[in-house]
């Protein structure tokens, strides 16, 4: 009996298809529909309002600030994250004991909850009693208010995000480096290629598919950043560290405006889709394969 049922492939895939339909496909369509509604979850009122939510969003100065913050956040976390991962990856690529140990150490924040990591950093960055300000003072540098000030709050969440993600990026770079065949380096040596020539003419081009993969996934994940914002700053002060997903959360869950929040989700989805399409186009054509 069981045997007859599980011989049918449609029955085997049915639970997965039902779940993905209910919790992924339907929510996307639902968000599109609700984005054209004025839906207040407290009063329970619903009405169709056409493009009003979108118009509101585009007229909202907070949205533009949040978008700008998101772009700045993504730019710095992605660029610094990948450049540092590349440099560290080059230095840690051998299978030595010390290299493996340091790889494991810098990977640790990746397996920890965002809560653990941010709580730890809020303690380090506390404006009054934090050790980082103590070190700055010790070096005779001005101390900062970190996540408490509009000037430095975005920087604070950028630093924590890079710190948390660096180990993962390094592992990807090392996996990429190890997949480059040794004989190419041996040939370069025979041709008397110098260290820098080898790095820029061989390693970098052959690593480019890996770096490009890292670039796209990092951009999407930094656009989706929520935990660090929610935990460290709640988007503040004065929206200085508010990013798009947290802003959508604020509208939907703190202002109870599900329609406007859905419109925000749709705009967010469009941004992510553009990145995914760029990925698809470039990944298939432009990037150097060996």
């Amino acid at each position: 009996m069981v045997n007859r049922i599980i011989r049918n492939p449609y029955i085997l895939i049915a639970p997965a298809i039902i779940l993905v339909s209910v919790f992924s496909l339907y929510p996307i369509l639902f968000a599109v529909r609700v984005s054209f509604m004025n839906w207040d979850t407290v009063l329970g009122t619903k009405e169709n309002v056409g493009f009003d939510n979108y118009i509101h969003i585009f007229k909202d100065p907070v949205f533009w600030k949040v978008l700008k913050n998101t772009l700045i956040f993504a730019f710095f976390t992605v660029v610094i994250g990948i450049v540092m991962a590349f440099v560290i990856g080059i230095f840690l690529q051998k299978n030595r004991f010390s290299d493996n140990l340091v790889q494991s150490i810098i990977f640790t924040p990746n397996i920890l909850s965002a809560v653990s990591v941010t709580v730890m950093w809020m303690w380090l960055m506390d404006p009054n009693v934090g050790i980082i300000n103590y070190v700055l003072k010790w070096f005779g540098l001005p101390t900062l208010k970190w996540m408490m000030s509009p000037d430095t709050s975005l920087m604070s969440i950028i630093i924590v995000s890079i710190w948390k993600g660096l180990g993962y990026n390094v592992m990807i770079v090392i996996a990429g480096l190890q997949s480059i065949p040794r004989y190419i380096y041996e040939a370069a040596k025979l041709d008397r290629a110098g260290r820098w020539t080898t790095l820029f003419r061989i390693t970098l081009p052959l690593l480019s598919p890996t770096l490009f993969f890292l670039l796209i996934t990092s951009i999407i994940s930094s656009f989706s950043a929520f935990d660090v914002v929610s935990l460290m700053t709640n988007g503040g002060p004065e929206n200085s560290s508010n990013l798009i997903v947290y802003w959508i959360y604020q509208i939907g869950f703190l202002q109870f405006n599900i329609g406007k929040a859905s419109a925000g989700s749709i705009l967010f989805m469009i941004m992510v889709s553009i990145i995914a399409v760029i990925n698809y186009v470039f990944f298939n054509k432009k990037v150097h394969y060996q």
Partner: protein, 272 residues
Amino acid sequence: MSYAAKVLRVLLLLTLVLVFVFPFIWMLSTSLKTYLESIKFPPDFLPKAPQFVNYSKTYVRIHFFHYAMNSVIVTFSIVIGQLLVCIPAAYAFAKKKFRFAGLFFAIVLIDLVLPAQVTFVPIYVLVSDFGWLDTYWAMIIPFIYSSFAIFFMTQAFKQIPDELLDAARMDKATELQIIVQLMLPIAKPFVLTAMLFTCISKWNDYFWPLILTNSESVRTLPMTVKGMISDTPGLTQWNELMAGNMMLIIPILVLYIAANRFIKNAFVYGIK
């Protein structure tokens, strides 16, 4: 390697170790201080007398046992649910030929591309329509499906030669026997990798418990530690907060030290 490169490498390694180890040591040290020691500025590196009592106080204060049990219930239910949903699907996609297989596979993979943050608003509405808010259902059912697990296991099952399955069928093995006694043992490392990845990410999750629950009853461990941060700056009991955070970190750190290489691979190949 030239002398300069060696020096540079050692300096880089030491800097990295300092930047990545010091925060943990500082947290451990703070967790053993008295409140007054913890807010002393300039700080002392070590507490005068280690206050292990911070841990027992915090254990009671944050209802550690209650939240840890919730974390265990939620995480293990999701892992078991994923095994039951994803293994059959992966088996079908890897080893069966059927109409629209490509289309269904594309549907299954849709949220491999789209981040969860796209659909959290409608999922909240849906879950509250089901009457699931503040229940284990909300924390479990939407997550017993995983695109990644299906994709990863499909790739693993595809590597098992069809001849092996045919031979088993000749010996009158049932379909269930083929999955459980033939495919799973061969693909065990891949299945374990996928489940380890699920385990760690659900154990650590902060986003979904925040969205899908309002009361404390079914919330998980990270939520309660987060709750210890005082809303009024300057009033946080840093020493107890760090003790709470240590209690959140230690179980997963022990797991990481025990299965280091395995976990790193789970993440690197997991996300890739």
